[in-house]
Symmetry: C2
Subunit: 335 residues, 2 copies
């Protein structure tokens, strides 16, 4: 059945039922979910964290690149990654979906299933939803709130100081390579790279550990290491040095690069959408924090150090040091 045959109200009712099991798991928190003018939740102690993302067909994804369930997963993962980058625990999500009347109801419900599964894994509750027709492209909007336990503070981009060690979780460049392979219709041979792009795992637990163990500054890798590290340095008023030999590159990326002549270092530095965490920590806390993050089952690698601002952003490699290129991915400038 098509969305245009079912209608907006009946579709929203199906979404309400789908997300209601998430509500049922936390009955004390949600006073009313989808179905009134707005959702209502019980009071909570602690600071709140807020983020929103809009994903558009043709800009952020093509429908043929992934299943609707994967698309739902990724739509939520992008926002969860922002919550993770503050060191917060996810709490509530509001979902907006705009689609053509010719979209199948099953497609939208599978997309919602992908969101619901990832939400459940991180104790996030989808409390509100809005559906509407679009002129054509599928649009998925998510707004999330998270909480920092009472008395705690979030980890900002501005907290870095010269001498801090710089860490990243996971591997770098896998998502960008996955995207290149999808565009060449060659992703089938590299499931790990495809998965990194279409189904990233937000580092929620790792982010909370970084906060609990004294992380100084943190952001998530959405625009690429060079651009995202620049955000930390700009907000902190520092420079930084990254050691090229320490960049965590996956075996799959090395194999794909040999076959397709990818520039591994460029992908690792400038490839976006890895949704790993980039954080800095005072030297005396670095062993403790690395151990705590690794205990969540996530790879963690020390890749460099924070420098005074006048040093700029340096990449230290076999042939000496060079300054980073200016910028990462920009949706408008790419057009």
């Amino acid at each position: 059945m098509l969305v245009g045959e079912l209608g907006e109200e009946a579709l929203l009712e199906k979404m309400r039922r789908l997300f209601s099991s998430g509500l049922a798991a936390f009955p004390a928190n949600v006073i009313i979910g989808i179905g009134d003018d707005a959702a209502v939740t019980a009071p909570v102690a602690g600071s709140e964290v807020w983020t929103t993302d809009l994903l558009l067909e043709g800009i952020h994804f093509q429908t043929e690149w992934q299943t609707p369930r994967e698309l739902g997963h990724k739509s939520l993962a992008v926002s969860l990654s922002d919550v993770a980058a503050m060191g917060a625990a996810p709490r509530y999500a509001l979902l907006s979906v705009a689609c053509s009347a010719l979209t199948t109801v099953d497609y939208i419900l599978e997309l919602c299933q992908g969101i619901a599964s990832l939400a459940a894994a991180h104790r996030l509750i989808v409390i509100g939803g809005d559906t509407t027709a679009s002129g054509g492209p599928l649009v998925v909007g998510l707004a999330l709130s998270g909480v920092i336990p009472d008395g705690g503070t979030a980890v900002f981009r501005s907290g870095a100081r010269p001498g801090d060690r710089i860490f990243v979780t996971g591997h770098l460049g896998n998502a960008a390579a996955g995207l290149l392979l999808l565009m060449r219709q060659a992703a089938g041979d590299f499931p790990e790279l495809r998965e990194a792009f279409v189904r990233p795992e937000p580092r929620v637990e790792a982010g909370m550990r970084v906060r609990q163990h004294g992380g100084a500054a943190m952001t998530d890798l959405s625009d690429g290491l060079a651009a995202d590290l620049r955000h930390i340095c700009r907000e902190s008023g520092t420079g930084a040095r990254i050691f090229q030999a320490r960049l965590p590159i996956s075996d799959a990326l090395l194999r794909a690069s040999r076959r397709f002549d990818f520039d591994v270092t460029s992908l690792a530095l400038e490839g976006g959408e890895d949704y790993e965490l980039l954080f800095t920590v005072r030297p005396e806390n670095s062993n403790r924090i690395a151990t705590a993050v690794a205990a969540t089952g996530v790879r963690v690698t020390e890749i460099g150090e924070i420098l005074p601002e006048e040093r700029g952003l340096l990449l230290s490699g076999d042939y000496g040091e060079r300054l980073f290129k200016e910028r990462g991915y920009d949706h408008f400038l790419a057009g």
Copy 2:
């Protein structure tokens, strides 16, 4: 200058500056606004209210119908109206904008000004934003949170009981008439009707009064009186009777109807997007609540009463009673 020349990051920086005066007015509430991975706000006492809306060019608006500032106003008004319909005080907003790279920077900043002005009028703070390219159409997403003071409860759709009096704020059908006039390029002669559609005033203060003075059930008029009253009746397990002669019809709507042969009653019952409040109240509270709402400067009219469920939804007019038609506006089914 075009958005595609400025780039995503510089545009977001301009939005950050534009919305920062709103943050400055409430320094204790906002720990960090736009500019980190997520916004962070201080703890608050009371239940929280959440809503989200997505407005798309070609579906919800045409850019030639209104100025960008009016479009910003309306985008926020739609969500503020949902917060108002719970009786909550608005608190924070997250804004998402997707537009073509060929959109002018001024257009987006004017749109943001429209949002910022309405936000300031209701003590709402825009704490986060996301911008991205779209394949073409302009998309504006807003997610809002509000708060019910500690110990209070929201006003739900489900609170109506037989015997309740039914009230609406403002006039009915003006927005739908304004839309018809815009489509006929005849809105210039009826500024009040055009304004009702392109620049609705959310009834935030009125909604809070309804809650404080014992409102039983409430919703806002987005789909049309018949459809929205049906929502209250379905959630409350009741029927209702509306007196046709009591429907608040503006002089402007009567004049336009004479000139263009509009069906006034249909517009009042089935025209959407008035963003007025529809609420019910126990008979013994009805005078008190009407006085309290009118004191906010908003017209308030008693239009009917809640009946037992088996009576259905009745319209009582000069020629006896009839049942309402089945439904209001549906974006998918309209296509």
